[in-house]
């Protein structure tokens, strides 16, 4: 029996790593997901059959119930709301780790250190994801929440967590572990609270990794190599994605965790003497149908306005009717989580072959006739390149300004998600199209159709 279960675990492990590996290209990705499902099903089936469970029907019922809840919520969620969905699932994984660690401590497992590690990481992932979910869903303010003595309080909590952990490992009393669990949950909550909405891609990645590292802790506690292997692959994934996001914003982890960004935004006063040129959708349509090459730069604002289908229609018309070359340029932090914009465009039916990452398209703006910026702002801000006093300075941005004409679809001249002023609005080759992203794009489509 032991040989059977171990063979199944081994095969399951192989399948799940291949599943991640298959995400290297879109055409192998769907097969990869199926392999992942197969691996997971195999591992769970083997465990249910081989372990001496107290009540088989109940276990199967609970798993089916969980599967039903998971399927229902995954089918219901809108693609714009994916980040909070992922945050919620991460939180559940973290909470599961906390439950297992508590259950192990109650049944007097001798693995005190491993249980503590699993519980701390799982607990931080759970309460942190809870706050991230609330912020993304708009249940609490997305802005950085600050109050007096916040960081001393967090530091004190952090030290207490370490001290209590050491105490518990030296003298394993259950009540100590319960107190430690409570402290960890509070700490996770307070750690994410000061992080601003624009930094959510980093937070979600970190928490995603957290649910993996928590599985590693539980794997060490239960002597299970499957949990350790899969947990560390997931943990590495979350950490790498967080690293990519931090790089794409030219920030540091410490800066993000302290919500440092929004604290400095008041430093850039808007120069009132500059004027921005406004245009009408008809003018934009005229310029675009006579262009040879157009690059569309979407941001989360496009998705928030439900404009992606109108953008798709516009791109298709320009390509098929007016023989214009149309490309999409995506900044790594264009959405609310890594790769979010790619999924939003894919949902609208835009061919992924037309979508380019920043590094692959940035030198093409100079040869583009039109850059159509819709619902994006900070990721095009040229002061990130040349204004050392800007809070965005050093962040890699799309070279939108190099296009012959830049159209900015925006409600007003206000700052972006970061609240920083964008000098591109006042550039001589920029034309502002004021209004709702979807409304403006639909008007352009109407003109292009006739």
């Amino acid at each position: 029996m032991s040989a059977l279960i171990n063979t199944s675990y081994l095969l399951a492990c192989f399948l799940m790593i291949v599943s991640i590996r298959s995400l290297a290209a879109p055409h192998t990705a769907r097969r990869g997901n199926i392999l992942g499902m197969a691996g997971m099903a195999l591992a769970v089936a083997a465990a249910v059959m081989a372990l001496r469970l107290p009540n088989y029907p109940l276990v199967v019922l609970i798993i089916i119930l969980g599967a039903a809840v998971g399927t229902y919520s995954a089918l219901k969620v809108k693609i714009t709301a994916l980040p909070q969905m992922i945050a919620a699932f991460n939180g559940l994984g973290g909470l599961a780790a906390v439950c297992i660690a508590l259950s192990e401590v109650i049944s007097s497992s001798p693995k005190n250190l491993d249980n503590t590690i699993g519980m701390i990481i799982g607990g931080l992932a759970f309460s942190g994801s809870f706050v991230a979910f609330a912020k993304l869903q708009g249940l609490i303010t997305a802005k950085s929440v600050n109050f007096p003595l916040q960081y001393p309080l967090n530091a004190a909590l952090f030290i207490s967590v370490i001290a209590l952990s050491v105490w518990f490992i030296a003298e394993p009393k259950q009540t100590l572990f319960f107190a430690l669990t409570a402290l960890v949950l509070i700490l996770g909550f307070l750690l994410i609270l000061p992080i601003g909405g624009a930094d959510m891609p980093v937070v979600i990645s970190l928490l995603n990794g957290g649910s993996g590292w928590a599985a590693v802790g539980i794997g060490l506690s239960l002597d299970n190599s499957l949990l350790i292997i899969i947990g560390s692959v997931v943990g590495a994934g979350g950490s790498i994605l967080a690293y990519i996001m931090i790089k794409a914003m030219n920030r540091s982890l410490l800066n993000i965790l302290t919500g440092g960004f929004s604290a400095h935004t008041a430093a850039t006063p808007a120069d009132e003497t500059r004027t921005a040129r406004a245009g009408a959708p008809e003018d934009a349509a005229f310029i675009m149908e006579n262009a040879a090459k157009i690059i569309i730069v979407p941001g989360f604002g496009m998705a928030a306005a439900q404009a992606q289908h109108a953008v798709k229609t516009m791109a298709a018309l320009l390509r098929d009717k007016y023989r214009v070359e149309v490309k999409f340029a995506i900044h790594p932090v264009a959405g609310r989580m890594p790769g979010h914009m790619n999924v939003l465009l894919a949902e609208a039916g835009i061919d992924y072959a037309d979508i380019y990452e920043m590094a692959d398209i940035n030198n093409e703006f100079a040869s583009a006739d039109v850059a159509y910026v819709i619902g994006a702002n900070d990721i095009t801000n040229p002061s990130a390149k040349n204004d050392t006093s800007s809070p965005l300075y050093g962040m890699p941005v799309l070279d939108v300004a190099k296009a012959k004409t830049v159209f900015f679809v925006k409600r007003s001249l206000g700052g972006g998600y970061s609240g920083v002023d964008n000098p591109l609005f006042y550039a001589p080759n920029t034309i502002m199209l004021y209004g709702d992203a979807r409304d403006i794009t639909e008007k352009i489509v109407k003109v292009l159709e006739n």
Partner: protein
């Protein structure tokens, strides 16, 4: 198992994770998050193992709860990944 064997496995799989993740195309980073989210639900095995040793009702309840939460995580993660991946289409691949 010997802790040093477990730690060796941990170290090696961190390297595997590092290389496998960097191989993922940036366009698929969202599906990567949801697939990895789903497979992190492998912690359900931990929940099942902890069901084997139950000393009290509280212990049993926590293990069942963990089982349920991990099941939501696994199936939800895979279904949402499937939904996302089904949207990625290209005229070049027909």
């Amino acid at each position: 198992m010997d802790i040093w064997i477990l730690l060796t496995i941990l170290m090696l799989s961190c390297f595997v994770g590092y290389f496998v993740i960097w191989g993922v195309t940036p366009a698929l980073h969202s599906p990567l998050m949801s697939v990895s989210n789903a497979i992190s639900g492998i912690i359900i095995i931990g929940a099942l193992i902890s069901l084997e040793t139950n000393s009290s009702a509280a212990d049993l309840f926590l293990s069942y709860l963990a089982c349920f939460l991990a099941a939501v995580n696994i199936v939800g993660g895979f279904v949402v990944s499937q939904r996302m991946l089904a949207m990625f289409k290209s005229r070049e691949k027909k």
